[in-house]
Symmetry: C2
Subunit: 370 residues, 2 copies
Amino acid sequence: MAFEFERLEKDSLCAARLGILHTAHGTVKTPCFMPVGTLGTVKALSPDDIRECGAEIILGNTYHLFLRPGHELIGSFGGLHNFMGWNGPILTDSGGFQVFSLAQMCKIEESGALFRSHVDGTLHSLTPELAISIQEALGSDIMMCLDVCAAYPSGEPVIKAALERTTRWSKRCKEARKREELALFGIIQGGMYPHLRSQSAYELLELELNGYAIGGLSVGEPSEMMYELVEHIAPLVPRHYPLYLMGVGTPEDIVECVYRGVDMFDCVMPSRNARNGLLFTQRGKLVIKNARYADDHAPIDQECGCYTCRHFSRAYLRHLFQARELLVYRLLTIHNVFYYQSLMSQIRTAISDGNFLTFRQEFYNKRREI
Amino acid sequence: MAFEFERLEKDSLCAARLGILHTAHGTVKTPCFMPVGTLGTVKALSPDDIRECGAEIILGNTYHLFLRPGHELIGSFGGLHNFMGWNGPILTDSGGFQVFSLAQMCKIEESGALFRSHVDGTLHSLTPELAISIQEALGSDIMMCLDVCAAYPSGEPVIKAALERTTRWSKRCKEARKREELALFGIIQGGMYPHLRSQSAYELLELELNGYAIGGLSVGEPSEMMYELVEHIAPLVPRHYPLYLMGVGTPEDIVECVYRGVDMFDCVMPSRNARNGLLFTQRGKLVIKNARYADDHAPIDQECGCYTCRHFSRAYLRHLFQARELLVYRLLTIHNVFYYQSLMSQIRTAISDGNFLTFRQEFYNKRREI
């Protein structure tokens, strides 16, 4: 089955919109949030947990899976779905961001990125062709073109060179692709320069890929700058393409960027914060280790319907967290991932009901109640 | 509802026997194995996981829960069942063994045990009365009398003094007890001396408690010595009392001690070994980190019906284990706890079918096949 982005309603007062991604492993309602499953597991969750949290699609990291356990091994299982026991859609990143941010050493040449593994120091070369080969072995429903992520902040010449190389690498990715049933998205670069973002978008749109992502944001810039850039970029991408904002973000970021026309998000925030005891609620954040919760019989969030909130008190969760009991990392991750999925569900309902702006206002009002 | 031990079949060729424990939180088929939930959680498992592994009863540690989060807090939840979300029966140990083995300092007097917490060094006194008070606050379906655990090896005078103090403390426990619906078991001490074991058993039987446990075994002595002592002690306890062998043990230990008349077991072995990547199978142990499993598509055990074996390969589990992914500790614990419960179920079926000796022989034959 070929990949398709089905467009549904669009809000009449802003750029928020509904859609459905049709993939080889089923459909995904958009706007969607993809929990991050770096090494073939959304940390602490089983595939059943992920599904019960309401997630329809997850993200896998090409860089991490290439190094451990290797894409050939995963390929021998028929792909990442079988290997990890998740039968829903999977999007994999290109490995570009991790090569630049995690590897011990990274040298970019026109052919590709030469880097040393952060795990064992071994030397590897990630080319656009290899990035596709890895992702096809993983069987990703949505693959990403290898991109060049310049550091933030960087000057205009550096950013321009990076985006132009990203265009050339994206062309090579498209040419290297063998499995047409797996979607291929391009990544718009251009740093914090609107005109370079425009250049990147136009160049990549010429390649007629299956969708487009905004890369190189949420890298340390102020939120307002990110929102302005999304507002600049989103209208450049024709509406029949899904638009994916990579590595974003907080609940506020998601509401603001849905408002500006983004369809897809991913971030380690719900799962990583959970492991650090930082929990999301409709009324803001809750730090479970705080002494005030020591004898608190209430669930994390009275209004939450997740497994954790239906069964356990703050006092119990705090006790487990203080004792570093393994169970707590799963229970808190379930809550945070459920919170994000619930947020996306509320967003979709609001768009469908034609009152996204009201929803957005109420979203902020609730957070001010604490 | 009062505690009751219902006797069912007994094997005609050995001391193996079937029974049912009736408790305030439901029934437990014996012989049974109790997974250990030290701090209000069987490490890495949710209550649903425990149930799905087939366990009907779990063990909580009085010493640990007294120190963290405290029995008053748990009492404010109506007990440990509500606090941790497990609605099945719970047995709690007396705290005696942990005071002697874990505390930073421990001084035994006739009144009780003075000790320093291994968590924060605070000074505490555990008396027989407090041990009961804690266990009643926890709402344990089966409470244990506070016992004195002498070190192994110890000379006869030390062991004799310890068992006699255990008798006096057990009397005080019985007198301190307020909640008659919660069962109270005595712990037979006496070290490796059969005549002292007899003395302890006779003294404690006079108290007419709800059941009896064998303490002070599996403390470093050879297996054969343990089996001989169990063989000596079991016939001393009238058959209408359930007999519980504390802290035991390996699958072999369980088969051998069921053979000699034991009804109840507990041990950290399945869960602790799982966290170290050591797995139980019908054909012996499997070390998941071994390189030979790196590309092994088979489950841990082809004949196992646990969640982990139904969904994941050795290669995937090894990958997660090498990457120290949190999910793996849960998946491996599920397998090992399920293995133990499955072993108990097979044991019960064999006794019921009147062929426990055949089962025992096949149990060993299978393990020799590797």
